[in-house]
């Protein structure tokens, strides 16, 4: 296990380094931030001063080297627009995005798995057919459109839930979160539902496919032949087997939840990293874009690592192979 984790960490470092090259050079070929920052009537001397101040007069490889040197010391550069460290800006917006992503993950698990279980156990039931039809909608309707419809229905027509912002926040364990207040929960519900719709559908389909497959396996028939209760067969024998793919996929999808939150945050004016990124892109605020992407890369790498470890806890066959590695 230790060898496995160390090897995965080495791979992770390599991936992060490679991504830093791609992201840094990629962002630097797009547009010219100087003209976004100086006033339209600035003269040549002002522009050149701005270029020097931002360090854009140096060759690009030197800029990258300076970025890398800073990054290793935890400094991802200063925002062109705000003049603050990009990392600090992102960390400031991160809790809002994380609580949104976690809420969406929570919703997709508590709604998706039971619904998938039901439709897997009773595939011919009309309710199951309804669930499956619903999951197709969840897959195919675009997130931004569903978000607008949710606002239209629940915020505008019915007036049940607010449509913008985080609402009141309070701190739990020193983290400011909307989940600590009733007003905050009312605010997070719609965006979280919007963000989770795709994942709910995914969880339903994965669980259903897993249940359908597992119920036909010999070990289920054998468990029945042992005289076990139906609930034990479903919740111990079947669930433990289908949790392997469900945990793997849902874990990996957590990264994409954070990524997709860009759309949802924009629609619901949720003050998270996604909204920060969109603003930074529009203002060509390169350090913020680069810092955001680097942090996302780190996230994905970490999530993959956690999923691998979880997977090996769930599936004893994987554990054994690791010992040989």
């Amino acid at each position: 296990m230790t060898v496995f984790v160390i090897r995965r960490l080495m791979q992770a470092i390599f991936v992060v380094f490679l991504m830093s090259v791609i992201v840094f050079f990629g962002v630097n070929v797009v547009g010219d931030p100087v003209y976004m920052l100086v006033s339209p009537d600035a003269d040549q001397a002002d522009i050149e001063a701005a270029i020097r101040r931002l360090g854009l007069d140096r060759p690009i490889w030197e800029q990258y080297f300076l970025f890398l040197k800073g990054a290793l010391q935890g400094n991802l550069g200063d925002s062109f627009v705000f003049g603050e460290p990009a990392l600090k800006l992102i960390l400031h917006h991160m809790p809002a995005t994380l609580e949104l992503a976690f809420s969406a993950l929570f919703l997709s698990i508590v709604l998706g798995i039971p619904l998938g279980l039901f439709s897997g156990l009773y595939p011919d039931n009309p309710v199951s057919k309804g669930i499956m039809a619903g999951s197709i909608l969840g897959f195919s309707l675009p997130t931004f459109w569903v978000g607008l419809m949710l606002i239209l229905l629940f915020a505008v027509e019915l007036g049940w839930l607010p449509s913008t912002g985080r609402g009141d926040t309070a701190s739990i364990f020193g983290i400011e979160t909307s989940l600590a207040t009733w007003d905050g929960i009312r605010h997070i519900f719609l965006p979280a539902l919007n963000l989770s719709l795709l994942k709910i559908s995914l969880a339903i389909r994965l669980t259903r496919a897993g249940v359908r497959e597992a119920m036909g396996q010999d070990y289920v028939k054998y468990a029945r032949a042992k005289g076990l209760s139906t609930s034990r067969i479903i919740f111990v024998h079947v669930m433990k087997n289908i949790m392997i793919p469900v945990v793997t996929v849902m874990g990996l999808e957590f990264g994409s939840l954070i990524g997709f939150s860009v759309v949802t945050e924009t629609i619901f004016a949720w003050p998270g990293m996604g909204k920060l990124l969109i603003d930074a892109i529009l203002q060509l605020d390169r350090p913020v874009v680069v810092a955001y992407l680097m942090i996302m890369v780190l996230f994905f790498v970490l999530i993959n690592l956690v999923v691998d470890i979880l997977y090996s806890i769930l599936d004893p066959r994987v554990r054994l192979q690791d010992q040989g590695a």
Partner: protein, 324 residues
């Protein structure tokens, strides 16, 4: 001897889109306490379905349409699920064919053994655990404590089948249905498993139905043999009688196709034709199209007759002993 299990006129049919598959079509037999009955037949003859019918484990689109399954006097054919659950794994247990597939890959051996006890009795986990350890010891598994902590994939095929046998004997059942338990194992392990099973039935007085396609396996193990073909038992009698003096042409064919030391170098006998299509069985004797002795009489289904100490479904019993 009293019959532990008495199956009479059992019919289990599958209602598929293509038509009705009469997988088991009028099967009668009885098993007494401590007796081992060999249920022999080729793939698709309905022998496994007979076993599953006894435990009430027939899934849609199949069901028991007719007949009685009397277990210790009670008819359990189509009995309520609760009653069947209290019998399964407790009074009647089952050993499956493929030990690679029947043990749940993600649960430890101790979990899978203890749940078989705890589903039927409430007793402290410690006691259940000790019973599991002793059961593993009985089937010849070395260092059972260690094996109990293992996952199925950490055991060999033979070891897993021993675990299945240990689970089958855990609750001291009256009857064990073994569905081709040695088919997936190599010959040496097969002999060991048969030896263990035989030893345990003798010790505990448990009756056993040993389902197999291999006559050689049951020849040394079973007290009685029932030969099944296309959903019906065509010949049933004491093992020695059936093996030494088979009467049904199908049994004769099966025995003739077993390789022995005497027919070394010769071409093995082969039963003509193919296994019948279960959707379109002939109205008379199902074996008639493949039978060298078939006559016009075979167009009507042969009744069960008592011939030379056994029950037989054939108009043309073969009298001669098979040359071994």
């Amino acid at each position: 001897m009293t019959a532990v299990l008495e199956v009479s006129g059992l019919k289990t049919h599958f209602f598929t889109h293509a038509g009705v598959v009469k997988a088991v079509d009028g099967v009668d037999f009885a098993v007494s306490k401590g007796e081992v009955m060999g249920l022999v037949g080729e793939s698709g003859s309905g022998k496994s379905i007979t076993g599953f019918s006894i435990l009430g484990l027939i899934d849609q689109p199949g069901r028991i349409v007719e007949g009685a399954i009397r277990f210790n006097g009670d008819n359990i054919a189509n009995a309520p699920e609760d009653q069947l659950k209290s019998i399964r794994g407790n009074r009647i247990s089952m050993i499956f064919q493929d030990p690679m597939m029947t043990l749940n890959p993600v649960l430890r051996i101790d979990t899978q053994m203890m749940e078989a006890i705890l589903a039927h009795e409430s007793l402290p986990k410690r006691e259940a655990w000790e019973r599991c350890r002793n059961a593993l010891g009985l089937v010849g598994i070395p260092s059972p404590e260690e094996r109990l902590r293992a996952y199925p994939h950490q055991l060999s095929g033979g070891m897993r089948q021993r675990v299945s046998i240990a689970i089958a004997f855990l609750n001291k059942p009256d009857l064990i249905i073994a569905d081709e338990p040695t088919t997936a194992l190599d010959v040496t392990i097969q002999a060991q498993i048969i030896f263990e099973a035989q030893k345990l039935t003798r010790q505990t007085g448990t009756a056993m139905i040993w389902i197999t396609h291999d006559l050689a396996v049951v020849a040394g193990l079973a007290d009685r043999i029932s030969v099944m073909y296309a959903g019906r038992i065509v010949e049933q009698g004491q093992t020695d009688d059936v093996i030494d003096r088979p009467l049904h042409p199908y049994t004769v064919g099966l025995l003739g196709s077993v390789p022995t030391a005497n027919n070394r170098g010769e071409r093995l006998f082969q039963i003509e034709g193919m296994t019948p299509n279960m959707l379109a069985l002939p109205s008379g004797c199902a074996f008639a199209p493949r039978c060298a002795f078939a006559s016009d009489a075979c167009k009507a289904p042969p009744p069960v007759e008592q011939v030379a100490n056994r029950e037989l479904r054939c108009y043309h019993p073969q009298a001669q002993a098979v040359v071994q």
